[in-house]
């Protein structure tokens, strides 16, 4: 078991700056998720930790010891690749046994370890098959077994669930969380799926264009996004952002609306701001005194809830509502705003304002 720390990672591929000073600190035993859109540098970060990528700058520390120049084999890490990278000529059994063979374990040890892992992941009957004879979910389990068969310092997982269908993905999410708990091992898990990140992680690092935007627990990242971009990336439906500025005790929108100024904000009058409102903090029912007037733009029924699109001026607010809500487009609506849960960002820098006041 162990800790993983990277400091100031920089890596460019030709003109593309894949990593631009990435610093992360993964505590021992944590489920650490690196979240970001494609091209954010997540996989490169993971490959840098594994020693598969030569860095332009920065350092990698494993268990507090500098491992920056070490060969992958000596780092004592295990990795699950997005493509699984199962050896095509070998059976599932041999694939899982590979890390043990590399470490010259005895045949009986190998047999026992493979047996234990395959029963944990329910793949006993697949052991004699080759990767070409396995389905995507089965390959994923074999790849997982190959990583989990030994006890490395940390497990690195590169979007291991991306290639699975939705049902299997949800199942494996629970499975992985369970495995993490039972092993108590350090997981560094890369994904572009915010649901995976929020549901599985102890800690989330949000990455964009090779830079770390925010590190925190899933709740922190969701409830207190460090900037406008994180707020927009995490959460579904995405947060609604309205241009506005403060004027005395009111917030005045670029579209002409006014709202009471949230108690906690310290922004000076006239400064260009963005008001961030999550769908669940808005309501089409009359519940408070802070409300915005708009017209119904569309309805997205999602079964357990309906997302109501409300047009305020030229901007669209996404409002979470009961599944029974009805209406016709063009109809006037009042949207109640829970200002205690609203976010304010500086329109120029995108940074969140006045977090300290909450």
């Amino acid at each position: 078991m162990g800790t993983v720390a990277v400091h100031g990672l920089c890596k460019s591929f030709g003109k593309v700056q894949a990593l631009d000073g990435v610093t992360l600190d993964v505590p021992d035993g944590s489920f650490f998720v690196v979240l970001g859109p494609s091209g954010a540098g997540k996989t490169t970060t993971l490959r840098a930790i594994a020693g598969l990528e030569k860095l332009d700058a920065g350092s990698v520390h494993l268990n507090g010891r500098d491992a920056t120049g070490d060969a992958p084999a000596t780092r004592d890490l295990a990795m699950v690749f997005q493509s699984y990278a199962l050896y095509p000529r070998h059976t599932a059994y041999e694939n899982i046994a590979s890390p043990l063979r590399a470490r010259r374990c005895s045949p009986s040890e190998i047999a026992a370890a493979v047996k234990q892992m395959s029963s944990l992941l329910h793949i006993e009957r697949l052991l004699q098959r080759r990767p070409a004879q396995l389905s995507g979910g089965e390959m994923q389990r074999v790849a997982l077994a190959r990583a989990l068969v030994r006890r490395p310092r940390a497990f690195l997982m590169d979007e291991p669930l991306t290639n699975l269908d939705l049902k299997l993905r949800v199942e494996m999410r629970t499975e992985l969380t369970r495995i993490h708990r039972s092993l108590g091992a350090t997981f560094v898990y890369v994904t572009n799926d915010q649901v995976e990140a929020l549901s599985m992680a102890d800690q989330v690092a949000v990455l964009k264009e090779g830079k770390v935007q925010q590190v925190g627990t899933p709740t922190e990242v969701y409830e207190r996004p460090a900037n406008q971009w994180v707020a927009g990336f995490v959460g579904s439906p995405p947060i609604s952002l309205l241009a506005c500025h403060a004027e005395g005790d009111r917030l005045v929108g670029a579209e002409g609306w006014t709202l009471p100024r949230p108690r906690w904000t310290t922004a000076e009058d006239g400064r260009a701001l963005l008001l961030g409102l999550r769908a669940e903090d808005l309501s089409v029912e009359q519940r408070g005194n802070a409300s915005l007037s708009g017209e119904l733009y569309g309805l997205e029924p999602l079964g357990d809830r309906t997302v109501v699109d409300v047009r305020v001026g030229t901007e669209i607010l996404k409002v979470k509502a009961r599944p029974t809500v009805t209406g016709t487009p063009g109809e006037r609506l009042l949207v109640t705003v829970d200002l205690d849960r609203a976010h304010l960002f500086d329109a120029g820098t995108g940074l969140s304002l006045a977090e300290a006041g909450r």
């Binding site: 598969l52 084999a73 990278a85 050896y87």
Partner: protein
């Protein structure tokens, strides 16, 4: 028999693509098509047929006017002469065939042993100015042997490689290496690098990872590449005739050419030697033909 390697590379896919459109008027070919193909076949195969006929005719039938196509006495004397010297013992030609086998075999092995790791490196590693390096490597093949043979002759004379099998092996290796690197790079590119990454995380070194997981997947490609290199070395004439002179070193192409000229030419012997020379490559290429086409199209086309 001078199969140029570069032509052979492009021949595979082209033939593949034209197959479906070839059918005129339903199932069969038109009469015109058959007639044209027959003419073409006769023109192309006649020298080969004539070579085979001459190799089994007695000398007086070889010179008969009008030529005898059928009804001549079949003899194997010429083939005996290819291998056995007039006074008994091994003939100079048989030594030449042995030399050819050694030179072609060793140079092919060397080119493969050097070329496969080089191709792997160019495919996997961030080599500085990779494209320029690869272009430079290929550029060594831009000039035909006959252009470079004089400078090489002078250099070889300085270092004492003239008239030695080692000299021929080295020049053939150098000539086959660019081709091997380029063709093998295509094959290595096809094998995902992640197998090696995964193996390294399993605890193997990079070389072990290459040997355990990438190399076995490259075997068909290596076979195809080696066959082309072998054919080139086996058929090569210009370097061989310029750089070697003694019977104990000379390879088969210049040795067979040497039979022609002088006061009389024993055409039966020339034909028999040519048949013996052509046969191994034909048989070999026929045996591995599936491999060759599959290998070549895989490496060159599916990019």
């Amino acid at each position: 028999m001078a199969v140029s390697v570069d032509e052979a590379v492009s021949a595979g896919p082209v033939r593949d693509q034209t197959r479906p459109t070839r059918r005129l008027g339903g199932r069969g070919r038109s009469v015109l098509e058959i007639a044209l193909l027959t003419v073409l076949a006769v023109v192309m195969l006649f020298p080969v047929l004539w070579m085979i006929e001459t190799s089994i005719k007695e000398n007086r039938d070889v010179y008969a006017v009008p030529a005898e196509f059928f009804g001549f006495t079949v003899t194997m004397e010429h083939f005996k002469d290819v291998f056995v010297a007039p006074g008994g013992g091994r003939s100079a030609l048989s030594v030449a065939f042995l030399n050819s086998a050694v030179v072609a075999g060793v140079s092919t092995v060397l080119a493969t042993v050097l070329g496969v790791p080089a191709a792997w490196a160019y495919s996997r590693f961030a080599v500085k100015a990779r494209k320029d390096q690869l272009f430079f490597i290929l550029s060594t093949r831009f000039m035909p042997p006959v252009v470079v043979v004089i400078p090489i002759f002078l250099m070889y004379r300085q270092v004492g490689l003239i008239d030695s099998k080692l000299g021929l092996i080295l020049i053939y290796t150098a000539y086959n290496l660019p081709f091997t690197i380029w063709m093998m790079k295509g094959f290595v590119d096809e094998v995902p690098a992640e197998y090696e990454d995964a193996a390294m995380l399993d605890g193997y070194t990079r070389l072990q990872a290459f040997r355990r997981h990438t190399l076995p997947l490259l075997v068909p490609g290596i076979a195809a590449t080696a066959v082309f290199a072998l054919i080139f070395s086996w058929n090569e004439f210009v370097f061989a005739i310029f750089l070697t002179s003694s019977d104990s070193v000379r390879t088969a192409p210049p040795a067979i050419a040497g039979l022609i000229g002088g006061t009389t030419t024993d055409w039966g012997l020339v034909a028999a030697a040519s048949v013996v020379f052509a046969l191994p490559v034909l048989v070999f290429a026929y045996l591995v033909r599936k491999h060759l086409i599959a290998g070549v199209t895989l490496g060159a086309v599916r990019r």
